[in-house]
């Protein structure tokens, strides 16, 4: 079930984000995720930023341990899991925070993508330079250090065939009213245990994010009253955002 990987490179991406390149590739579709196991610690979900890499930010105890890995250290990976973004012409990619990591593979595969990035400060705009080589990039920062000042919503409207969003729950909930449900896709994050759809831990309005998602179409997301509102914690109890 798990592949034993070694870290071949730990790349600093700015804003406290690091990419861990592994000695294995996980052939996957853009938006799919893997479970990364650190023995003695835990196992958590991460989007594939490259087919052989995950990108994380030090947000808590597990990501701290993860980002302490050095070249040559071991990590065990299973997956990829879940549904992916459609890969078509005319995608508008909208990312915030470390959620941006889920969009890089998509930007590489979709024809003529446009990219909108949001963050507190310029440093948070993960992979900005790489995105710029793939299509037109617009950015918004809360502190105005780069691009438009304010939230990513300030970059709208933006013409496109379809919209692919990944970022914090609150950001996605905020974007929802601005995007056409039939032509938009959202990648969600929930606490995961099994990642194979049996335990029910990762539910958002009854959809299991690990298996029914993490990418959902806008029509489904339209009905998700829990988006931006609550997630299940480790016991299963609701935690309100």
């Amino acid at each position: 079930m798990r592949t034993w990987c070694r870290v071949v490179e730990r790349r600093e991406e700015g804003g406290g984000n690091y990419t861990l390149f592994l000695d294995h590739s996980f052939p996957s579709k853009p938006g799919q995720f893997v479970m990364a196991w650190l023995p003695g610690e835990s196992e958590k979900p991460f989007s594939l930023s490259y087919e052989n890499a995950i990108t994380a930010k030090n947000l808590g105890w597990y990501s701290e341990r993860l980002l302490a890995l050095k070249e040559g250290d071991s990590l065990w990976v299973r997956g990829p899991y879940g549904k992916s973004f459609p890969v078509k012409e005319g995608a508008v990619l909208m990312g915030g925070g470390v959620g941006i990591a889920a969009l890089l593979l998509l930007a590489k595969q979709a024809k003529n993508p446009k990219i909108l990035l949001g963050g507190r400060t310029a440093d948070d705009l993960l992979f900005r330079q790489e995105f710029e080589s793939l299509g037109p990039v617009k950015v918004a920062t809360e502190d105005g250090s780069l691009g438009k000042k304010g939230l990513i919503t300030n970059l709208l409207p933006e013409e496109g065939q379809y919209y692919c969003v990944c970022g914090p729950d609150k950001m996605m909930a905020a974007l929802k009213p601005f995007l056409p449900p039939e032509r938009s896709y959202y990648s969600l994050e929930r606490y995961m245990k099994c990642a194979i759809g049996i335990c029910g831990q990762c539910t958002c309005n009854g959809y299991r994010v690990c298996t029914d998602g993490p990418v959902f179409d806008g029509v489904t997301v339209q009905e998700m009253t829990d988006l931006g509102r609550r997630k299940r914690g480790k016991s299963g109890a609701w935690e309100y955002l």
Partner: protein, 317 residues
């Protein structure tokens, strides 16, 4: 009292687990007649740290899980169940059968929202001051199991299922449960537990060290359990253990089950997959029955085995 599930298909407790998932599946038209909640504990439990599941890559390898019964508090469950609307299916509340007093307290709390109960007897049988990891299971002890069932029986008139474990003296435990008032026996919980070791890490994989086995690998064991329990006690049985196809379902019905529990079945299946595959699953059973009532199938593998020259009981088309 019977559960009257239509169709007689349920999810295993701890699988899918939560009311919002049940609501979605019921609304989307999954062919599932009853949903069983995650087993509720007396107080909130976080369960084990990840990884909580592991499985070899060989196809058909057993799934090992060490979730270790995470649970919201009963109060939080009540808040959720109050909001739960299942237009078509029944709701069965699973309760960890740790302590008779707590079992009856939990049942009284959720009683307005439940159509029935399942008592998970595969819980640590805690002696006072005893650590959970060293305790035997309640389900290994007929007397302790009967006490839990009796507490439930006194707290509700709704159907009560006592869920047994393979690897126990399940006929004797089951007998004690039936005498204490259980309407159904659940056969059975996960097998084992078993162990998986990562050969590169050189240590056990699961954070909880060992995990219960589920999936097709355990079917022969749980099928024998149903066969034995039906043969000895003749009570209504909910079958669990590696039911993946309608053929598996028919095997369990022939052994003596009247309700089919799906667990590992749901792995890697989306909502749409579940809607389609549970329909096909039930259709497969219907096609097999060719109009024969399901009840006539239940336990019929216990009849004398037919001899060579006599034709097979089912006419082939």
């Amino acid at each position: 009292m019977l559960l009257n599930l239509d169709p007689p298909i349920v999810n295993g407790s701890g699988i899918l687990s939560f009311p919002d998932i049940f609501e979605l599946l019921d609304q989307k038209g999954a062919t599932i007649g009853g949903y069983i909640t995650k087993s509720i504990s007396p107080t909130e439990r976080l369960g084990n740290e990840n990884p909580v599941v592991t499985q070899e890559d060989t196809p058909g390898a057993p799934l090992l899980n060490s979730l270790a019964l995470p649970s919201q508090s009963p109060e939080e469950w009540v808040a959720e169940l109050k909001e739960t609307r299942l237009p078509r299916a029944k709701l069965i509340v699973s309760v960890n059968g740790v302590d008779p007093k707590e079992v009856s307290r939990i049942i009284r709390m959720v009683e307005p929202y439940a159509d029935g109960y399942e008592l998970n007897l595969s819980c640590p049988n805690l002696a006072p001051g005893e650590e959970e990891s060293v305790a035997d299971l309640v389900g290994q002890n007929p007397t302790a199991s009967a006490q839990v069932v009796r507490a439930a029986r006194e707290a509700t008139e709704k159907p009560v299922v006592a869920k047994l474990s393979p690897g126990t003296d399940y006929v004797e435990v089951g007998r004690a449960c039936v005498e204490a008032g259980a309407d159904y026996l659940g056969c059975g919980n996960t097998l084992g537990p078993g162990l998986a070791i990562d050969i590169h890490q050189r240590s056990p994989v699961l954070a909880g060290l060992t995990g219960g086995l589920s999936g097709p690998a355990i079917k022969p064991i749980n099928l024998k359990m149903v066969y034995d329990v039906f043969g000895a006690l003749g009570v209504p049985i909910i079958a669990y253990g590696g039911i993946m196809t309608w053929e598996d379902a028919v095997e369990y019905l022939l052994a003596g089950a009247c309700v089919l529990g799906l667990g590992t079945f749901f792995a890697e299946r989306t909502v749409e997959d579940i809607v389609r595959d549970t329909r096909n699953f039930w259709q497969g059973v219907q096609d097999y029955l060719k109009g024969e009532p399901l009840e006539s199938l239940v336990g019929s593998a216990h009849a004398m085995r037919t001899t060579a020259a006599s034709p097979s009981p089912q006419q082939k088309s």
